[in-house]
Amino acid sequence: MLEIRDLRTSYGKIAALKGVALDIKDGGLTCLLGPNGAGKTTLIWTLAAILKAQSGSIRMDGEELIGAKPHQIVSKGIVTVPENRLVFPEMSVTDNLFAGAFSRRADKIAVAQDLEEVLQRFPRLRERANQDAGTLSGGEQQMLAVARALMARPKILLLDEPSTGLAPIIVEEIFEIIGALRDEGRTIFLVEQNANMALEYADDFYLLEQGLVTFGGKPGDVDHDELIQRAYLGTRKAS
């Protein structure tokens, strides 16, 4: 379990996270909703240690993670699928997958097995195994980004807006994959703007507005329409 308490991150003088607190429970899909500029990506980047937290704590099973370097976070099993996919465009699909296993590079046999497993899960990637990742469609690149993260054998998978810039039908496909991963008992933290889709799959959800978590609960807990309105547009008053 990942416990985030009073997490603050800022860009210079502008505070982006103003004391975020939330829990990511083991074996479930925790979803974070929020409008543009709420600090969702900032939170992901802070968890991945790509951004430095100003203060607060991030504990994984009691162990403090603040101060760790990005590669150490990956070794601890917290693996990010960054927004806009960010595959290595001029590497082949297979090489992208191998790159995902960088933190476990010593274990060649297991890496080869995982590669087979991932290619089984994503047959489309197998078809394109030797193609440059940059030549894939947006949806395929997103699959590759998820597959690449799986190659690191994540304990917690952080997904930053996997639906960005994808056609609705592809978004559905991506969410089915996320749902399948959840059903296998994996721990997933999903940051999304697509509230409708996200709530369909989430076990728990939080609402992030202007750098603060303003609501947390289960998908059935609250009036759907109001929530979606707030997820897209935000509100001035915190409830």
Partner: protein, 307 residues
């Protein structure tokens, strides 16, 4: 013949200079500091042979190690900045080095003559080669032996996981971090390796010309250093080699007969090449990561068959 052997020497040292920028450029960093490391390498190696009577080979190694360490020290603060800011920071470093040698005086007496760096006058009489009876051809051969070793070494690095790692950082830093690459270590290592190679180049250069002075190591040289891998492309080390031959062999030396028009044509030809081949003479391809993980993985073979 003498002329061509001399040209071969120039091509050799410039290849080393270009390769030093190539390594750093793989990680996406445009460094204008390579001429600075080259200068330090030149002075250190020259001091070793001319002032202390050390053989050229250990002298070049000493130069290379010291510039490697220097590059590492410069790397830590410099790589915190990116893009244009890094260009400015490294350019500033290069100028600092140049100004240092402009003011650097340290002469000792040897065989009744004062020898050593003498400020703006430069460092004269770096005569290891003539003193030991090396002909122009011997020197060219010696330089190219070293160039081939460095080229081979880099080519090998490029085709191992290390090369893929450098390129991954060059492509996308966030993506590289999200797969668990340690950015600082990788960038500083590339910088150190680049610095060490520039040191070798500089050390050899000093001995081929026998007289070095601060003016040679200015912005023009720094620009050449970065122009080689950009023009040659990041596909492989041979792109840089090709670019050096093209620029130094063809544009600088080969076009001498057209006199003052050369500079104009020089710029125009570079523009033309960059337009025809925007990713360089030998464009980029990624080195195969898979060969390292599993040379004969059944998975990969399957994947190839389905293609």
């Amino acid at each position: 013949m003498e002329f061509y052997l001399g040209l071969l020497q120039i091509l050799g040292v410039h290849t080393l200079l270009g390769l030093s920028a190539y390594v750093v450029l793989l990680t996406g960093q445009v460094s204008m500091a390579q001429a600075g490391f080259y200068a330090v390498g030149a002075y250190v190696a020259a001091m070793c042979t001319a002032m202390f009577g050390i053989h050229i080979l250990p002298a070049v190694i000493i130069a290379s190690v010291s510039t490697g360490i220097l590059a590492m020290i410069v790397g830590f603060p410099a790589l915190r900045v990116r893009g244009l800011m890094l260009v400015v920071a490294t350019l500033a470093f290069g100028e600092m080095v140049r100004m240092f040698f402009f003011n650097f005086r340290w002469q000792i007496e040897r065989d009744g003559k004062l020898i050593g760096p003498n400020g703006a006058e430069g460092f004269r009489a770096i005569r290891f080669f003539p003193e030991n009876g090396w002909e122009t051809g011997d020197v060219a051969l010696f330089i190219w032996c070293i160039v081939v070793i460095v080229l081979g070494l880099l080519w090998w690095v490029d085709n191992t996981r290390a090369g893929a790692v450098l390129r991954a950082v060059g492509h996308d830093e966030v993506a590289a971090q999200s797969v668990g690459l340690n950015l600082t270590t990788i960038k500083v290592a590339a910088m150190a390796l680049g610095g060490a190679i520039a040191g070798i180049g500089g050390g050899l250069y000093a001995h081929t010309v026998t007289h070095i002075e601060h003016g040679v190591f200015g912005i023009l040289l720094a620009t050449f250093a970065i122009a080689y891998p950009i023009l040659g492309g990041l596909g492989s080390v041979f792109g840089t080699l090709l670019a050096v031959i093209f620029i130094q062999g063809f544009l600088v030396e080969g076009l001498r007969f057209i006199g003052d028009w050369r500079s104009l044509l020089f710029g125009a030809l570079i523009l033309l090449v960059m337009n025809l081949r925007p990713t360089g003479l030998l464009g980029e391809r990624m080195s195969p990561l898979k060969t390292l993980f599993s040379r004969k993985s059944p998975v990969v073979t399957n994947a190839k068959e389905t293609q």
